[in-house]
């Protein structure tokens, strides 16, 4: 059950500086581009500032020509030519810079995404237990989106705006220190407004975020609990409660956004007021001979062009902060501890030489051995599928022992069954064999080797699992079966499907084996999906098989269909079965009855009935386990 998600909550980054530099690390492969971009941004902002400055000589030249009644256009034309060059350089640089920004930002995003996903695949199951899918997904979607905006727009605009503001101020000083003084007064006023409004807005935004999270949490809870709402006729009550929360959100959201949205017209028109003041003051100065009209023209143009970057810079800054907070969440994922794997025993293809000794070969002998480092060399241990638990104690969190002193042995080819009620620790046992979790006390051996010494990937490759909840992937039926062994030929895929009794229904699908499954195989029935999962396990062809309630959600008729396939799949393998139908486990070599994490009885069916213990009770007491 996912907890209330932080929908759109703009948390502040804990360490903005560190996150920023971490992010900057991703620019390293693009250093030449990044440097070019930085220079280019300076050039293009500079060009627009310089272009405006040229208004002064051009207007003055016109004025002078009017006064002197000259018809010599040379100087006028050359000014225009310079202006044309400056403009051309500005536009061209802007284009190149933006192209480079697209390249760098998309490549950076790709690198971040790949880092995230690659890490995701390496994380231990505990990580997935502790986070909801929504939380993880929002890093892939919301947080990367924010990062994209920041990289492709926010950051470059922030730089351009800052450069422009500084450039404009410098040029103003050059043009007329007196008028600049006037500008600075208004500028200070504008900064004050930005700050004041920003503060007000931030206060209401904080409140709004909280209410928004509340409304979104309520939406989530009620939509997830919709069946209850319907069954208990709570629609009206829920609707009324929602209306109230929604209205609260509207009010605070309106306040928050009013301040943010008013910033733009206030700043824009303050700059117009400034423009007016400058025009009047400048005209007065011109009359008094302290300025010429060209200066006034350029100066006026500058007054118009620095209020917008100022507003932009202040707004971009907020976006910047929330993008950094997103980046921080992304790096949290990237930095999470991966599954530890100190195992050095690997699984290799072998064949026997003339002395009956194992010899490692490249591939496909269908005979496997554990390659175990001994001293300087290696020894080969045949892969048989002998699994033993020695005094295993395990807990998921610090509180409760889920398994207590469990001892068990499964000889190659044996079928071992676990029965017991929910929470007794059945699934945990299988999770320990493939090292989804590691035991805290005791040990598990596989063909005599401690599983902790075995390379995790090789360990899991030697096991195959069919789980209660079947999960399929978007892709064709063939690809889904081949998921068990990527180099399986088409014939082997069909073979496996036949073994699992899936062949006939697959042939009846619109495109047979090439039918594309979507959304976890939503277009198949539960039974059909289960059959595919069994085929997938079959094609992997491992010596050990784990069936965790593999048939529990299948109706009796389909189960009968699968049963034959299952029997064929199980023959010759070590099999661990968890089932709640006692009939399924009856023919096991050993049945272990678990209760509160302890093995309370063991033996085969006949033994256990003879013991007249819990199993006998379960059996005779006619109650099914769940």
């Amino acid at each position: 059950m996912p907890g209330p998600m932080q929908h759109g909550a703009q948390r502040k980054p804990k360490n903005a500086k560190k996150t920023f530099f971490r992010l900057a690390g991703y620019f390293k492969p693009h250093l030449p581009s990044v440097v070019t971009i930085l220079i280019g941004l300076l050039v293009s902002a500079g060009a627009s500032v310089a272009g405006t400055y040229l208004l002064k000589p051009i207007i003055n030249q016109i004025e002078q020509m009017v006064q002197t009644k000259s018809t010599d256009f040379t100087l006028f034309f050359s000014y225009l030519a310079i202006l044309a060059i400056i403009y051309a350089v500005g536009a061209l640089t802007a284009y190149i810079v933006n192209l480079l920004i697209v390249n760098v930002s998309t490549a950076t995003l790709e690198a971040v995404r790949v880092d995230m996903f690659t890490k995701l695949e390496k994380l231990p199951l505990r990580y997935f237990d502790s986070q909801t899918h929504g939380e993880i997904m929002s890093r892939f979607s919301n947080d990367t989106d924010a990062l994209r905006e920041m990289l492709s727009q926010g950051l470059p605009m922030l730089i351009t705006s800052s450069v422009t503001i500084i450039g404009v101020l410098v040029m103003m000083l050059v043009l007329s220190p007196l008028l600049t003084a006037l500008v600075l007064v208004v500028f200070a006023l504008m900064l004050l407004v930005v700050q004041k409004l920003g503060k007000k807005s931030a206060f209401f935004f904080g409140k709004r975020q909280k209410l928004l999270a509340g409304v979104n949490g309520y939406i989530e809870e009620m939509i997830e609990g919709q069946r209850e709402v319907k069954v208990f006729c709570r629609e009206e009550a829920v609707s009324a409660e929602f209306e109230q929360k929604n209205e609260e959100l509207r009010q605070s959201s309106t306040s928050a956004m009013t301040y943010a949205m008013m910033l733009m017209p206030i700043m824009g028109n303050l700059s117009y007021a400034l423009y007016a003041a400058v025009a009047a003051a400048g005209a007065a100065l011109a009359i008094l001979g302290h300025a010429d009209i060209g200066t006034l023209a350029a100066f006026l143009q500058y007054t118009r062009s620095f209020s917008q970057p100022l507003v932009q810079a202040s707004q971009l800054f907020n976006g910047f902060i929330s993008a950094l907070a997103g980046a921080e969440r992304i790096f949290e994922l990237v930095d999470a501890d991966p599954e530890v794997d100190e195992g050095r025993v690997t699984l290799v293809n072998v064949e026997r030489d003339e002395h009956g000794q194992f010899r490692e070969v490249g591939c496909c002998t269908n005979q496997w051995a554990w390659k175990r480092p001994v001293g300087d060399g290696f020894e080969y241990v045949e892969l048989k599928g002998d699994v033993r638990f020695h005094d295993v104690t395990f807990r998921y969190d610090e509180k409760v022992d889920v398994l207590k002193n469990v001892n068990l042995f499964a000889k190659p080819g044996q079928k071992i069954a676990f029965v017991g009620s929910t929470g007794a620790g059945k699934t945990t046992i299988t999770n320990l064999i493939n090292r989804f979790y590691d035991v805290q006390m005791g040990s598990i051996t596989y063909d005599g080797i401690d599983v902790k010494e075995i390379h995790k990937d090789d360990l899991r490759r030697s096991l195959s699992m069919v789980l209660q909840d079947t999960h399929l992937f978007t892709g064709t039926v063939r690809e889904n079966i081949r998921y068990g062994r990527l180099d399986a030929t088409d014939e082997e895929v069909v073979e496996a499907a036949k073994l699992a009794n899936a062949h006939s229904f697959i042939r009846h699908l619109p495109q047979g084996y090439d039918t594309v499954l979507t959304a976890d195989g939503a277009n198949l029935s539960q039974g059909q999906r289960q059959l595919l999962a069994i085929a997938r396990a079959a094609v992997a062809n491992p010596p050990v098989l784990i069936l965790d309630e593999a048939t529990s959600s299948i109706d009796t008729r389909t189960e009968a269909l699968i049963e034959k396939g299952m029997d064929r799949l199980m023959s010759g393998r070590t099999v661990f079965v968890i089932a709640h139908r006692l009939s399924t486990v009856r023919n096991s070599n050993a049945i272990l009855v678990l209760e509160h994490g302890e093995v309370i009885e063991r033996g085969d069916h006949a033994d256990l009935l003879a013991q007249q213990g819990k199993y006998y009770q379960l059996y005779m007491g006619m109650f099914e386990l769940s």
């Binding site: 697209v102 929504g134 609990g225 006034l296 118009r304 789980l467 999960h471």
Partner: protein, 575 residues
Amino acid sequence: MIKKLSAYIGQYKMQALLSPILVLFEVVLEVFIPLLMGKIVDVGIPTRDFGYILRMGGLMVVMAAGALVFGAFCARVAVVASNGMSTNLRKGLFDKIESFSFKNTDHFTTPSLITRLTNDVNNIQNSFQMIIRMLARAPFMLILASVMAYRISPRLSVIIFAAIPALALVMGLLAKLAFPRFEAMLQKYDSMNARTQENLVAIRVVKAFVRGDYESVKFKDSAAALKNAQRKAEKILVLAMPIMQLTMYTSILLVLLVGGKDILAGNLMTGQLMSFISYITQILVSLMMILMVFVTLVLSSASAKRIVEVLDEVPAINDDAAISGLTVENGSIEFCNASFSYASDANNLALSNINLSIRSGETIGIIGGSGSAKSTLVQLIPRLYEVFSGEVLVGGHNVKDYKIEALRASIGMVLQKNVLFSGTIKDNLRWGNPNATDEEITAACKAAQADSFIRSFPDGYDTVLGQGGVNVSGGQKQRLCIARALVKNPRILILDDSTSAVDTATDAAIRAAFTEHHGDATTIIIAQRITSVMEADRIVVLQDGAIDGVGTHEELMNTNEIYRDVYLSQQKGVA
């Protein structure tokens, strides 16, 4: 789509209309400012008239102040309108979803509905705000500034009037080129996220088959494909800015060139030229803004589409044909030739031709394998799903004749997958009957064998549960849910496999309490354990969506093979 969404402006229509009007005033004032500036230069400076300069300057400041007030006011009404609209929309969607039957919800899936109500509504709000402010402002500005420019110099305006359509054409072309590329990009993005989601859901499968590296390689491919698609799309948009700059710069250069000559010829004044250049900036910036708004709108149209899909969905069940005032008189239930299909397809029936008559007060057990449609059958009674053909009668009337609320109020149902809500235990228990007294609640909890464990909590009945009831165990949750159904004091009580996490002794105690305290209610128990239904008045055996047998335990043992099999498998095995 737009019509549909704009209906949600509702009581904020005034603000939504006022916003563009206020913008118009703001723009008018803003547009006059450069003109006055030109006057200062052309009239004030040559005549050395300080008074004139002061007057004009003062007028400009007043205009700016006016524009500021209008602008700020406009921002306020736009915010009120857009927030109001999104609030209405959110409420409309929420209520719509509340009106959905299970079938509608199944169709959209729960997570998708949540995204539509949260992220998508947000997107729409932002776009709407943009429309009423920017999309009004930019065209006004464009037109008014053009008029002003024309009044200064029709000759120079030719340059602008040539530049505007040229720029508009190029921008339109770019947009046309860019949109399909952006769509392609969004598609790549969606499929990448879908794969990631699949990996999260199926992480055990990925790990069990050691496919982490394989998935990473696949992800790298799709991330690279996304990158390329994104580059392809953005490279088009990147052209927009330089083209706009080039147009603006070229226009300014031309205006300076032609204008300079005009000034020398005595047809134009310097101040007018300066005003003219200001207008060029205003015009071209407006054009740029229009383009930007369109890009945003197209990007958010996906959200609009997803929202409208929900709004357009017809609730599969309504009670328009109900007889008002009709209440459930007794707990009798009758299925007459009832069939049901999740796919509304006669060839794909989940239940076929069910005929079953249940007397008021009777206790009925239902047994059958998974997929035999036990849950589906009982969900037809409170009309959570609609029959495909045939009919279901409760209290002697077709369920369609009741107002849904009247029907469901008389039925207590405990679902297989139970949800508790955040709030106290008492709040949760009152969920079905807000007026229940403390005594009634305690009685229901005692019957559901929940009273003792609730009392063992430090805060007892006031213990606060987290979302989804995370702080109680599975068995406790089931008992709370049974108690919650009992508090309704229903005529019909349906338990859908709701004691699976409860041990047999407690299960038996719960059933005993039912008989004692709710003996007159019709009770339907779906169970896996045969002991749970053995003592029922009658037991229904379901197989593949059809009734295989009905009778008492003894009768079924004699006549029904499936029942006997199930019984034997649970008792003596199939030896």
